[in-house]
């Protein structure tokens, strides 16, 4: 009798252990993965849309061609919603950094950072193409 009870208790214990492990896995996945992925993916999408908007009339490449980093920073500030921190780096076709000034609006204190890679070509008769790396985060 005692041996049988011991067996049952062990099964219950094992079951409880499994339940606890799965519960903790489910809760942690729900808290970290889902929310982070949703937020960063949304930010990346916003970033891409913003760059597309600036590029639609050739403004983006024009600012880079003219090395007008101040206007580029202001344009991003204007188009991006308040509370989104950004940091933009421009590379030429040899992957050398082009921007001499920092094109950013603040510190990245958030752990949730989205990354957008964008290819941009100029419309002017002097042809240049650039690769843009844009990092975005929700400012805290």
């Amino acid at each position: 009798m005692k041996n049988q009870n011991r067996g049952q208790i062990r099964i219950i214990e094992a079951f409880l252990a499994v339940l606890i492990i799965f519960s903790s896995l489910a809760i942690s996945a729900n808290l970290s993965v889902t929310q982070n992925t949703k937020a960063s993916s949304g930010l990346a999408s916003i970033g891409l849309q913003v760059l597309l908007k600036l590029d639609s009339d050739g403004s983006l490449a024009r600012y880079i061609d003219n090395e007008d980093w101040h206007t580029l920073r202001d344009s991003l500030n204007l188009v991006l919603s308040a509370g989104i921190a950004f940091d933009l780096t421009v590379y030429n076709d040899q992957m050398q950094q082009v921007n001499t000034d920092v094109v950013s609006n603040g510190d990245f204190s958030s752990q949730d950072i989205a990354f957008v890679e964008y290819a941009c070509a100029s419309q002017g008769s002097d042809f240049h193409c650039y690769i843009i790396h844009l990092y975005l985060a929700v400012a805290t």
Partner: protein, 256 residues
């Protein structure tokens, strides 16, 4: 009594095992469904981002075409189009966010297009500058390869028509309508320079010809000026559109 308890204990142990197994099975299947739903959601977000990314790459090829046409229309070599697109193709290979990216292209050639460029400036009353290229964009994505075929046609057209009224002596007042369009849509001109023909040479029209320009804001411009010539009134409009693409159109004005 003791036998009964033993029997009950043995039975309960079996039932408990079945219940435990069932619970574990439910937990495992719930977890599987949960992970599947998560991955499905991530996949749909991913495909939306890829669609935007492909749109951005198409935008870059379009800008390269505009840049090349602007250059060729102002006297550059036609080979510039292929050079620029090759350059862009190399840059695309440095993009890695959505896997390897390959761009191949075929510039359009026919009776009108040479090396993907058509400069049709000799047609009476109208002129067109155009670039046309077929592209294949291949994205070696982690999950699946994406191949997109598309064509880009960049065209600026200028249509002019005009009439003149005789003033004193040889002097004539010319009214010219100039319409600038980007394919079928009206577009704005950045700069319009006018010339008239006198004794076989083209003479620029400027403020000394009482030049006035009315901009209707929809790609239509009404230009008025006076000229002194004995011959027919032949005018030429040299237009740079907002994208810096140059187009030229010639017209013979009729007496109103």
């Amino acid at each position: 009594m003791r036998r009964c308890k033993r029997r009950f204990g043995a039975n309960s142990s079996g039932q408990l095992l079945v219940v435990a197994a069932l619970s574990i099975a439910i937990i495992i299947s719930s977890t599987t469904i949960y992970v599947y739903e998560l991955s499905k959601e991530a996949k749909s977000r991913d495909s939306r981002s890829i669609t935007d990314f492909i749109f951005a790459l198409k935008q870059a090829t379009r800008n390269a075409m505009i840049s090349s046409l602007a250059d060729v229309s102002k006297g550059g070599e036609r080979a510039i189009l292929e050079d620029n697109l090759n350059n862009l193709s190399q840059v695309f290979m440095n993009l890695h966010q959505f896997g390897m990216c390959y761009l191949s292209f075929m510039v359009f050639n026919d009776s009108r297009y040479d090396s993907g460029i058509c400069l049709s400036w000799n047609t009476n009353n109208s002129g067109a500058s155009s670039a046309y290229t077929n592209f294949t964009l291949k994205l070696d994505h982690m999950m699946t390869d994406i191949v997109v075929d598309y064509a880009v046609n960049v065209t600026t057209t200028v249509v002019i028509s005009g009439s003149y009224t005789k003033l004193e002596g040889e002097e004539k007042l010319v009214n010219l309508t100039c319409q600038v369009s980007d394919k079928e849509e009206p577009t704005l001109a950045k700069k319009i320079t006018l010339f008239y023909e006198d004794l076989g040479s083209w003479i620029p029209i400027n403020s000394s010809n009482n030049l006035s320009v009315a901009d209707y804001g929809n790609g239509t411009y009404l230009l008025s000026f006076t000229i002194s010539t004995l011959s027919d009134v032949q005018v030429s409009a040299h237009v740079h559109d907002v994208r810096e693409i140059f187009v030229q159109a010639n017209a013979t004005c009729t007496e109103a």
